[in-house]
Symmetry: C2
Subunit: 173 residues, 2 copies
């Protein structure tokens, strides 16, 4: 047991909570309302889902997995933008291409079992950002992203565009 | 090594893929387009995100985590509806209330580190569905849900409403 150094910055802990109420009355369309219990008034979002006609739905709203794929992509982008400021790394446009790939396996007509294959994310921070800065910014964003933090280890893969080449970045443990 | 029984149902394997293209030009709003590479024409979704004013954004679109919370809720609901049919369990309305709870910890103004606390899901399948049927339907839905399959073990918690009481359901390994 040692005393913390006198210069240690204070530790700040915060809760981040989102609630959803979902209702389904028979088909594949779900009415879903999302709110934040500690959010501002008006932070309530109607985010219904449906399946496409190939999956028994009517395409009246996005697939649940479309929301998921946007959420994962944008969550990392928010951390990249916010942490670039905190880390004093100058970043102009951020472009990200994500592929979320699962497989499902079933025996005959029994319910299927799902598993993620890989979620790959190609991140362009622009040619003017030094490779070392790109790497430390991505490392921080991975640790800050709420969704990545909830995923099974090994599912996410990231690549950075360094000097016109895509370079796979191994996450720190 | 034994031969499969002659009556074994065929194993069917399928890929499920969603792609996102995200673009950020400076603030906290992200333009995000989601598509399915093997989907039908028209299965393209504009799903932009923003942060609220408390987090540096303009509330011009839902938070990424709002999409995530809808996606998780609806993904389970789709499996409950689809598998109820396959398992010949009669289910009328499905109501689900989900809370996604994370914490974030930071030292001073350094980038924060996120971690899930728990994602809890309270599921009402109606008083007319026998407890045993509710339990086996939920067990199948957990295994079928693409998002749950990608989450760290132990993050998800489910409760079923059995005879007016909420009962926590432990997932099978």
């Amino acid at each position: 047991m040692t005393d913390a150094p006198a210069s240690a910055a204070a530790t700040i802990r915060g809760d981040v909570i989102f609630d959803a109420a979902g209702r389904n009355t028979g088909g594949f369309r779900n009415e879903v309302t999302v709110s934040r219990p500690n959010g501002l008034p008006g932070e309530v979002y109607e985010l219904p889902t449906d399946e496409g006609p190939g999956h028994g739905g009517n395409s009246s709203a996005p697939y649940p997995l479309a929301y998921f794929t946007s959420a994962l992509t944008a969550c990392v982008m928010v951390q990249l933008r916010a942490f670039a400021r905190r880390m004093r790394i100058e970043v102009q446009d951020i472009n990200v291409n994500t592929r979320c790939h699962w497989e499902r396996v079933q025996q005959g007509s029994a319910p299927y079992v799902s598993a993620p294959v890989a979620f790959t994310m190609d991140i362009e921070l622009g040619p003017d950002v030094a490779e070392a800065d790109q790497r430390r910014l991505l490392a921080a964003a991975e640790k800050g992203c709420f969704i990545e933090a909830a995923l099974k280890p090994g599912v996410m893969r990231h690549r950075l565009k360094i000097k016109d080449h895509w370079v796979e970045v191994r996450s720190a443990p």
